[in-house]
Symmetry: C2
Subunit: 436 residues, 2 copies
């Protein structure tokens, strides 16, 4: 079988350390040696490989960028129109002002000012800079995944496992300045006592966290976080890069009725175009005026244009409701399938971004096996699904039906058959590792 | 006179701290209250304001992004074609591999591996991370402007003027972690002894510099920098974000026959689309595999697509020669004009990016006056010109003719007339300042 993508991937590893720009898109994270790796075209929830083979994407949807489906006609039209009138100039684009005003409306009543960047890591670094300037304190307590920058990875300087359980395990941090040791302190989700202890002992000026990722907040947890940060004059930042626009029109914090002091949005904001935002209270955001934060490409027009149109369509279609319902359905069906085959399944994630693991010593073998078997049916699948409004119900049912066939075989393995006999190649990688 | 742009700018300052995303595009840096501020359309070297008034851009050309002119037909066509086939997906885009291979060819023999980002600041932060990982040392000596990130601005922690004379004065750094004090050490351009002293006393692992910005390297300076860094196993990084592709097809280091260990390219690389690159030797770049450096939007397709087409056109037209010749001509004419009017002019910058200052107590008033008067002739002008192949000779002559008229009046001021009587509004801002 031809696999042009794997050939390009081999070339890539020779010219790009790690092979690509984002860990989550490495073929090794899915199905080493067999994953199609590269696309020629993407539309709706379909992706065409370099061999022009058509796949349904039941996996990452651009790692969460495309709630409106790939290559959404209206968003693309809007971007193409503005590109044709110039993506960049010595003057500014007014789309960024309109977008700021729209985000402020969405983040009412707490959102009052906005800065834009082009990647989520940047938005996180900008937010931390502004919060440190506002609080006058360098120390930050964090919970969740907040990107690749020095400030965040420095948490692993204290001990190399500090950031495990905050999404990605084994984050190596060579080259992060060792002077940053003891400036960033991770706390466990739902462990308010730990956060309180860190706040009381570490002179914390900023708390940055994902509102919710894999598990739901326990009763009162978020309220207590808001209360203590308010009382101690700590800047509370919600990183909504992943959670934003998936369950509400804006931050998922809306669902829990908690207002942060700042939030970051990215990923889905421009439906596949590079644009990210930091939104915050005016008194905090104005501290950007005493800290040099400036970059040429933050001013290009495509990103703001894409975001404006994306938000318009999201609001019109109430896309967050659609994807939440689809996700709820998938969660329910996963559970039913697992029950049918007596598999011990763990289902987690917010509804629009459901994920599962089969509780077993062989869980990574099973994950790999699922990818391997569904790929044969032209489905790109892993153990999580970033839903889009383009995932129509028939496609989801087709995916679930095919998954059912794989679950049968996994049951056989749980009953004594060797999963390694079924795997046609190496097991998927987990976390950050050197690849050759 | 209607000025929609200034109205939008007032709105912007209410919703965006500092008003926009890049200091250099603040209207206050040009002509407070009067600069058109926003564009509706840009094409070639023309920009249309929100009032649909047409201007010739004899100033920053997107702050250096558009060597092939605004909205270059071929680049736009290529990007639009790929956008229509999907800007983003769960799979990678093969354009990034092609672009890496092209940059390696351009940076032969030293360039062997590449990483991409979306902004110059990011590319700089990635390069420093990799260099610190490679050298095993945190301390960096720097010369020039390298962005807004903590690592760079931390130089101003030692004393707040450390970064003056490295392009931008008065960079405020609230929110940069104070633990980073004494990790980054600026040295003056052409001051090899100072660099040597820093290297010998500060356990430097990395030297990062602009190869050339405003003044030419003295005989042997760059060779000595290369020599000492090689001898001491220090990673030498050339920041070519601004200088790249303006005097050679690639880094300006080619002109001086000095090979760095790493370089960053940005600005002109994608002719107005957001894409930046870190190029380096394999043994150094592979250290990225022991340091988590990953971001979703670094994988979008528009940037790599734009860069591939931009490089193709640059190579075909030998654009660097064209803009260098245009710049040489402008420098010569500026000097002639100054001579004619007995003005004491200081001309600097690489040829394709010439700049001038009139040596006088009133130099900022004169700069403002030039902008004010040329704006009346529908020319966007300051005291530097980023040349593009779209700046045709007639336009340049038109600009020079109009400038001649302004120089006459400046001569009168040097001879006793009060420049403040000629200014119709406030003087332009210089460097980083709070604006309201």
């Amino acid at each position: 079988m031809s696999n042009k993508g794997q050939k390009v991937w081999k070339r890539a590893k020779g010219v790009i350390p790690g092979g690509n720009m984002i860990l989550s898109k490495r073929p090794e994270m899915f199905l080493p040696d067999k994953w199609p790796a590269y696309y020629s075209k993407a539309k709706g929830c379909y992706i065409w490989s370099l061999d022009n083979e058509k796949f349904i994407d039941m996996s990452l949807m651009g790692v969460g960028t495309n709630i409106l489906g790939y290559s959404n006609d209206e968003v693309d039209k809007s971007v193409i129109e503005n590109i044709s009138k110039g993506n960049m100039s010595t003057l500014n684009c007014s789309e960024e002002v309109e977008l700021a005003e729209k985000l402020i409306e969405i983040c009412s009543p707490w959102g009052e000012m906005v800065r834009f960047a082009r990647s989520g890591g940047e938005a996180n670094a900008i937010a931390v800079r502004i919060a440190r300037a506002a609080s006058g304190k360098d120390n930050v307590a964090i919970c969740g995944y907040h990107g690749w920058h020095d400030w965040y990875l420095s948490a692993n300087l204290q001990s190399k496992d500090e950031l495990n359980n905050h999404l990605l395990d084994g984050l190596d941090i060579n080259g992060v300045p060792k002077n940053l040791t003891n400036t960033v302190f991770p706390f466990e989700y739902n462990n308010f006592n730990q956060l309180e202890e860190i706040i009381n002992s570490k002179d914390i000026g900023t708390v940055k966290m994902e509102v919710v990722r894999n598990i739901q907040p326990e009763e009162g947890f978020l309220d207590k976080v808001r209360e203590i940060t308010k009382k101690k004059n700590i800047v509370l930042i919600f990183d909504e890069c992943t959670s934003g626009f998936r369950e509400t029109f804006g931050g998922i914090s809306k669902k829990y009725n908690i207002n942060p002091d700042m939030s970051m949005f990215g990923k889905a904001l421009g439906n596949g175009y590079a644009v990210t935002a930091v939104v915050g209270k005016e008194e905090i955001m104005q501290n950007a005026q005493s800290s040099f934060i400036s970059s040429t490409f933050w001013s290009e027009r495509a990103g703001s244009t894409a975001a404006l149109k994306t938000l318009e369509i999201m609001e019109k279609t109430e896309s967050w409701k659609i994807i939440t319902n689809k996700g709820k359905y998938i969660k329910k069906c996963w559970q039913e399938l697992a029950n049918n085959f007596s598999l011990n399944i763990e289902i987690s994630g917010i509804d629009a971004l459901p994920m599962f693991n089969i509780r077993s010593e062989s869980k990574f073998q099973y994950k790999t096996f699922i990818t391997q078997e569904l790929l044969k049916k032209n489905i790109l699948a892993s153990n999580s699904v970033y839903l889009s409004i383009a995932h129509d119900d028939n496609l989801i049912d087709f995916y679930l039906e095919e998954l059912s066939g794989v679950f049968t075989k996994i049951r056989d393995c749980e009953n004594g058959k060797d999963i390694n006999d079924l795997l046609e190649g190496p097991v998927c990688q987990v976390g950050f590792k050197r690849i050759n």
